[in-house]
Symmetry: C3
């Protein structure tokens, strides 16, 4: 693998899921593969799971890690071209990315959208600038519009737990108090569209995802109907794509045990962090059907499969 | 050892001191014991000694470390039950702790008291929530009411330096400009009560420690009298336990050379950081009797003995 | 080598450049030299290149690293003597440095000048306090008045690229929007004065460097004349040494392709970060003559040569 920005970089997504499963069975199977090499993890936004799980994955591979919190550890970067840099940005992304590429063999980048201007966010300027300027394979640690490591984790989790060949997977919008990116929803749809699962996406009117990601999924605005016979319920908030960045006020979309009772004893999934009793009720997240911790744990093996594949191609 | 939250988790405290001494003599004696394993260090409060010494201890054991500054590197955590999380806390401790447990084999937690409500602090909610939810052995890196790694260090230091079997050890309150936790004083008393040393605790009226920790120690409110014939003087400020969080205004309690002259050429100890000429005078801390640097250096071997013992039990 | 604070600590600067070149050819040539040892990197000021390149250098040597951002990860330090520490500084540098020396075998320190009082800055109090109190070899990661790791990198870069025995090297002042330290300019002059290169320093009237560093270099206030036949152009802003900390308003000193056309097809150098179209135009920094990325990449091997030399002397 040459880079990992979206499912399009993966020749066979289900083979990568199998690889992740193999890493989970035997985490130290390639514990020297990364020796003498360095993974740079550049966080433009805060992170707990991604940071810890990716560092752990690197450790399993004997790969050294350098973590940099941009802004906090260094300074603000300019990303526009042909700017007279007499403001508060002390370095251009072109130099910063190229320099990081001098010190690291692989670069992981986390960058969130501004959620103010859709075109700007969907251009993925920052991620693209790294890819174009760093001269190294880039791994998305969640970008403005996609979160492919999360989706690979999600597929691994479904594969571990599914009781039938083609489970019904429902990705449902859930309430939140402030605008969140569409990245997790976008990527999940994009990845599941590569599988044989039945995918249903449920959201209130006006909260459609970009059709590019929805693909052949069934879309419903009646959450209860969508949940019928679901084998997996993946709850996630996203702000509006059309009325860009708008937060919806639909408290009824919270996943409660009444909602879960409509399903085929579905597993409950969420990428975390999650606001309890806003997105999901205490009783659901603490129930036996909740697999959010296993799902989070799987982040290690998703990252490990990706890093392993990139290391082999270096 | 299954966890390290207080002296109660240690079957034989003096045997652990011996183990720490052995780590100091030969720091790389078990340099592969931690291979393939990861220690998570979660700081809810800033740290210099604890952070550096624990990382060094882990390095000596071949144990990988992931350091997380909560709030700074990630986000605020909710610790109360049954809350509708529509405020500024983006994740519940139940998920956060469980997830960290997925990535780490041992978790170290630092959390300070609020010093506003005594019951809240002495319930140790945050530390307890980690223990209950992370599924891994937890090491206290100083909690609201105890600092056991410091106490183990202190005993190691006294054992190295004592000139008689049962030295007289004086823990004396010292001035400070703002309210400090009782954790160091509490733990020191609790640990020394497990030894054969003579323990005297000196403090101004109203600055008693919780009797639970004081145990069989002699308590005095006349500092000069307490210091007579002392072999070790351990100075430390703590805010009031009874008038919870109050700062005392007793500048005379500063440890000066006049005070030290009352002792049996005692060694001067402090856990650091220390405010010079408030807690202790320049001439005392710079004297040959001051062992604060040796004491701080011993933090490595205390942490190493604890981690080693936990690793062996995994 | 016992420490690395300035060129004066290096018995044979060109031999150290050769050593750095050898590290670049074979980065893992001494990959076990640092085993069991720890490098502490203490940042009082933010850093991208220095932090990442020094960590990478340590990794190449099998040396463990502990990074501490003072202030952010710990607390403010007092550096004045005989102070009653009842203000906002919780620890004295004397204790902090000595304690860090307990946990680390080598300490790297980054500290910037205040640019308000010249005497204070040029006394290098903070760096000196570390040297005097930590009991370990200290490596400057840029101090108030010097940046020797950068200069060693610069010489390595010139040696790699030079087409004649004694190239003409022009260090030219360049515009900036806020006061910057003189450290890079000072050190570069100091190091080049140890070589056989022809050194010309160009700056506007009033922007002389401290004569101590200028040494035998030719100084010009006509930038165009200075650039004639230059083989290397090193652009860098510094605030005034005489009118201490003053920013000059000389936009004409920006390095443009017109300026570069005056040279002998010179290579363009800068230590980065650089403000585009203030210090240097887009077309120059993106041209084939620009070697700023190679120069930044060389930071790894400069640091590695220094650390290797210190490790051998331990």
């Amino acid at each position: 693998m040459q880079q990992f920005l979206s499912v399009e970089d993966v020749s066979d997504p289900m083979a990568l899921v199998s690889e992740a499963m193999s890493c989970k069975e035997s985490p130290l199977q390639a514990s020297q593969l990364g020796n003498g090499k360095t993974l740079g993890l550049i966080f433009f936004n805060p992170s707990l799971r991604t940071r810890m799980s990716t560092v752990k994955a690197a450790q399993n591979l004997g790969l050294e890690t350098i973590v940099l919190n941009t802004g906090q550890d260094s300074w603000q970067l300019e990303i526009e071209d042909q700017v007279v840099m007499n403001g508060n940005k002390a370095e251009h992304i072109k130099e910063a990315a190229a320099v990081m590429g001098q010190y690291c063999d692989i670069l992981g980048i986390r960058t969130f959208p501004g959620l103010e201007d859709r075109d700007t966010d969907y251009q993925e300027k920052l991620l693209t600038a790294f890819v174009e300027n760093c001269g190294r394979p880039v791994v998305s640690l969640e970008s403005a519009t996609r979160h492919p490591l999360q989706s690979l984790t999600d597929l691994l989790t479904i594969e571990e737990l599914k009781k039938k060949e083609k489970p019904k997977v429902v990705l449902t919008w859930a309430p939140h108090i402030k605008p969140l990116p569409q990245a997790v929803g976008n990527s999940f749809a994009e990845w599941v569209n590569q599988t044989e699962y039945e995918l249903v996406i449920a959201h209130p009117e006006g909260f459609d995802l970009d059709p590019k990601f929805v693909g052949s999924a069934t879309v419903m605005t009646d959450q209860n109907k969508a949940l019928e016979d679901a084998d997996f319920v993946y709850a996630k908030n996203w702000s509006s794509f059309n009325d860009y960045g708008a937060v919806g006020d639909f408290p009824d979309w919270q996943i409660t045990s009444e909602k879960m009772a409509l399903t085929n004893q579905a597993y409950f999934m969420h990428c975390l962090p999650v606001r309890r009793n806003v997105v999901v009720s205490d009783d659901v997240i603490e129930s036996d059907q909740s697999v959010v911790i296993q799902q989070a744990g799987n982040r290690v093996y998703a990252a490990q499969a990706v890093l392993q594949s990139i290391l082999k191609s270096l």
